[in-house]
């Protein structure tokens, strides 16, 4: 019987949360993906409690809860949640495309300077980051217009 699991490759443990060496664009996106993911979990936790426990108790409690949540600080929080979702969603779609082996490009002979898969995809990654920034700016404009 094998009691111990196979040792995981490149295992850094919690130390890898702080620093994993050789940080490039994709590694910062990984960090942001994790931070926004944890933030969205925290939001969903509060959001689910608000929309179940406080909703089932009827109109008065619901309207009091919504009045509390329309406080400007909660509104700023909502804006951050939408930006975090945009980042997590677009970066997640990039990871899905990468993971399932789409958009690999044509194979090239290994001649210096070498083209690895990550570097080949980097122009697309930079476009994705630009789209996230444009979306965040557009949402900020809509937010400041008071549509939320």
């Amino acid at each position: 019987m094998m009691k111990q699991a196979q040792p995981r490759q490149n295992y850094l443990g919690p130390a890898g949360w702080v620093w994993a060496g050789k940080y490039k664009l994709e590694r910062y996106l990984y960090l942001l993906h994790r931070v926004t993911g944890l933030g969205l979990i925290l939001f969903v936790l509060v959001h689910l409690i608000m929309t179940t426990v406080f909703r089932i108790q009827g109109q008065d409690i619901w309207e009091a809860t919504m009045a509390l949540l329309h406080n400007p600080w909660f509104k700023i929080g909502e804006y951050l949640v939408v930006v975090a979702f945009s980042l997590h969603a677009l970066n997640g779609l990039r990871l899905i495309i990468q993971e399932l082996g789409f958009a690999l490009g044509k194979p090239t002979p290994p001649i210096y300077p070498y083209q690895d898969a990550l570097r080949k995809k980097r122009p697309g990654t930079i476009v994705m980051v630009a789209v996230i920034i444009i979306l965040a700016a557009a949402f900020l404009f809509d937010f400041l217009q008071g549509g939320w």
Partner: protein, 120 residues
């Protein structure tokens, strides 16, 4: 093998969330866009608008589907982060069961309320 399936479902639920949560956020926040397309979603958090959505089966279905895939995606992601702390299989099993229990509690609560409101 099990880890492969868990990761594959992480990808599938991620793509589903991008669609379902996109709908949810547009309805809740981008009423100007919806007015452009001829849908009036102003005051989406008012009691009237909320009960109107809660009385439509399609909205209840969308919310419960979003709850299911969102809980899986979030809980599996959190589990992956927590399991980076330890390499012991016993701890892995304990964390997995804790996550399953948390998921069932939130899914039960989050399903009971919309179904109770839909059926009166």
């Amino acid at each position: 093998m099990r880890r492969t399936y868990l990761w594959f479902f992480q990808l599938v639920t991620g793509a589903l969330i991008a669609v379902l949560l996109g709908i949810h956020i547009v309805v809740q926040h981008f009423d100007a866009i919806l007015v452009f397309f001829g849908v009036d979603a102003a005051q989406s958090t008012s009691w009237a608008a909320m009960t109107a959505r809660a009385s439509q089966g399609i909205w209840v279905f969308i919310y419960i589907a979003l709850l299911a895939v969102g809980l899986y995606h979030g809980i599996n992601g959190l589990r992956n982060i927590i399991l980076e702390v330890t390499r012991s299989t016993r701890a892995e099993r304990a964390v997995t069961w804790a996550m399953i229990v948390i998921g069932i509690i939130f899914f039960a609560g989050g399903t009971y309320v919309p179904v109770a409101l839909l059926t009166g």
